[in-house]
């Protein structure tokens, strides 16, 4: 068959299947990410059907998917929100980092994947899925709850941590020497802080530069700017994703809101392809051997996220049920864990088992995370003894 026809048929079939999977996910009220990953596993290397024609397209689309994911993450919070979030909740943020990075890093060492592996797996276990958490908060009607700002500020901190972590990771994955690594990390940190300062002071000018009343012009401006900044960042070894993230932070106010609305369908498409592409590159037969470890890691890091949420909520005077809700909302891992694993896989600096472990890990927690958020509080109420001070009669 004509290669173009083959590619179109494969791509069409895959996107159509993704549509079915997303609908199924919506029907049973879960995040579509695990289903996309499973879809990718089924079609990829060693899967049920092997797709060859769309490989190149899937790869580039996946990259764009990551850029859009990070761009929209940046759009979600304004620079001012990031700063106040950092000032007010850095203790919780640091606890979150320590408690959730270490289990992943430790396991990577234990399995003999070295420092690079530890850096990658630590990142995978550290970062909660802000997409799943936001959906859980909205779906369960918890926007007005008192623990919600606590959860959100931890997510904000994680996003900022990502801005530092991703360039560092990119450097390490590139295998630069220690001194060269330090220089790149220094450049990365300087760029990140500079962009944050510019975003805080002159965010409206960046917004003005891309803004347009015409939605077509606006979309092209946004996408062009994002790809340009991402490409430049990548050329400077700061990681393409971080460039897009910084651009997202710099765009603020009404422009950011409109940008989110306009980019959402594109993000959904490209991110879905990214998850599939990640799955495509993972051999399903490599998952069963690491499933046990993924399960152990999932249980431990679910507990550590829970502890983080409980501690942070307790600190601001939230009562016991709210502490459990806060902790459980943070458990879900998703898109950004896969982004980290994807970067690592693309660099070729990590063993294939790590990608398989990350896939299994995200599959587990993306499915159980929302369930935990829903049922942790009633479960805690049923299992744990009532607090000493009796509730109002």
């Amino acid at each position: 068959m004509d290669p173009l026809a083959l590619t179109l048929i494969e791509l069409g079939a895959v996107v159509f299947c993704l549509g079915l999977l997303a609908r199924l996910a919506g029907r049973i009220g879960m995040s579509p990410i695990p289903l996309y990953l499973l879809g990718g596993l089924a079609f990829g290397a060693g899967g049920i059907i092997k797709l060859e024609g769309m490989h190149e397209f899937a790869h580039l689309s996946g990259e764009i998917g990551v850029i859009l994911l990070l761009l929209m993450l940046g759009l979600e919070y304004t620079a001012a929100e990031l700063f106040t979030g950092l000032r007010r909740s850095w203790q919780a943020g640091v606890l979150d980092l320590v408690l959730n990075f270490l289990p992943g890093a430790a396991l990577a060492y234990l399995l003999g994947w070295g420092g690079v592996g530890a850096m990658v797996l630590g990142g995978v276990t550290y970062i909660s899925s802000s997409g799943i958490a936001a959906k859980v908060i909205t779906d369960l009607g918890r926007i007005g709850n008192r623990e919600t700002p606590v959860v959100l500020s931890i997510l904000v901190f994680e996003d900022l941590a990502m801005a530092v972590y991703l360039p560092v990771l990119t450097t390490i994955l590139a295998g630069v020497s220690f001194l060269g690594g330090l220089t790149t990390v220094g450049i990365a940190l300087a760029v990140v802080s500079l962009v944050l300062m510019v975003a805080l002071r002159h965010g409206h000018q960046v917004s003005k530069a891309v803004h347009s009343e015409n939605s077509e012009v606006f979309l092209l401006n946004l996408l062009g700017a994002a790809l340009l900044v991402a490409g430049l960042a990548s050329a400077m070894q700061v990681s393409a994703a971080v460039g897009a993230f910084m651009l997202g932070i710099a765009i603020s106010g009404a422009t950011a809101h409109n940008a989110t609305r306009i980019l959402e369908p594109l993000r959904d498409l490209f991110a879905a392809i990214f998850f599939v592409a990640f799955g495509l590159n993972t051999d399903p037969s490599s998952i069963p051997p690491v499933l046990g470890w993924a399960l152990v890691l999932a249980v431990i890091t679910a507990a550590t996220k829970m502890a983080t949420g409980i501690w942070a909520a307790k600190r601001v005077g939230i009562a016991r049920p709210g502490r459990f809700r806060a902790g459980a909302t943070l458990i879900a891992r998703g898109e950004f864990s896969i982004v980290i694993a994807g970067l690592a896989v693309a660099s070729g600096a990590i063993p294939g088992e790590l990608a398989a472990l990350a896939t299994a890990y995200v599959l587990l927690l993306a499915v159980t995370g929302p369930l935990a958020a829903r049922y942790a509080e009633p479960l805690a109420k049923a299992v744990l003894p009532a607090p000493k001070v009796a509730a109002k009669a």
Binding site: R142, I143, G144, R146, L155, V156, A319, A391
Partner: protein, 160 residues
């Protein structure tokens, strides 16, 4: 009254306060522009028993109802020494013959001796409205008069 304002990064803003009965009540203003009314459960003030999405019009009407109550109570308090004078609120329903008409057309003072002392509209108070003020659906009229006069005024506003 101490209203707490909390930023919800990425979502919007929450404004709420504790009532004397121990419930937290307030609104969440979402970044997309919607408003939600939130009420906490009685046993856990951290959580919400209900979060009710309100359109701009519904929010304004609710504001009128609550604010009008407050204004009416204050007015009653002020002329409690004058026997026979009562304060009452009338809302302009969509089927009222006077919606989108100047208030003077209803001739309320001439016909029943009732004074419209204020109009609550979208959470704002229009004090001492003149006869030229155009009435809209959802407006809440604060009226002062005798019991019988107010009954007549209610009938006028409803049936013309």
């Amino acid at each position: 009254m101490n209203v707490d304002e909390t930023n919800l990064p990425g979502l919007g803003r929450r404004k709420d306060f504790m009532t004397a009965s121990g419930r937290r009540i307030g609104v969440v203003e979402l970044r997309e522009g919607q408003t939600e009314l939130i009420v906490s459960t009685w046993d856990d003030p951290d959580t919400c028993q209900a979060s009710i999405p309100l359109t701009a019009e519904e929010a304004a009407t609710l504001g009128n109802l609550l604010g009008g109550q407050h204004l009416a109570m204050k007015l009653s308090e002020e002329h409690k020494d004058v026997p026979g004078i009562v304060t009452r609120q009338f809302s302009i329903t969509p089927d009222s013959p006077f919606q989108n008409q100047p208030m003077g057309k209803a001739c309320i003072r001439t016909r029943c001796g009732v004074s419209i002392v204020a109009i609550m509209r979208e959470g704002e108070v229009l004090p001492s409205p003149g006869p030229d003020v155009v009435l809209h659906t959802g407006d809440l009229l604060i009226a002062v008069g005798t019991q019988e006069g107010l009954d007549t005024a209610a009938d006028i506003l409803r049936n013309g």
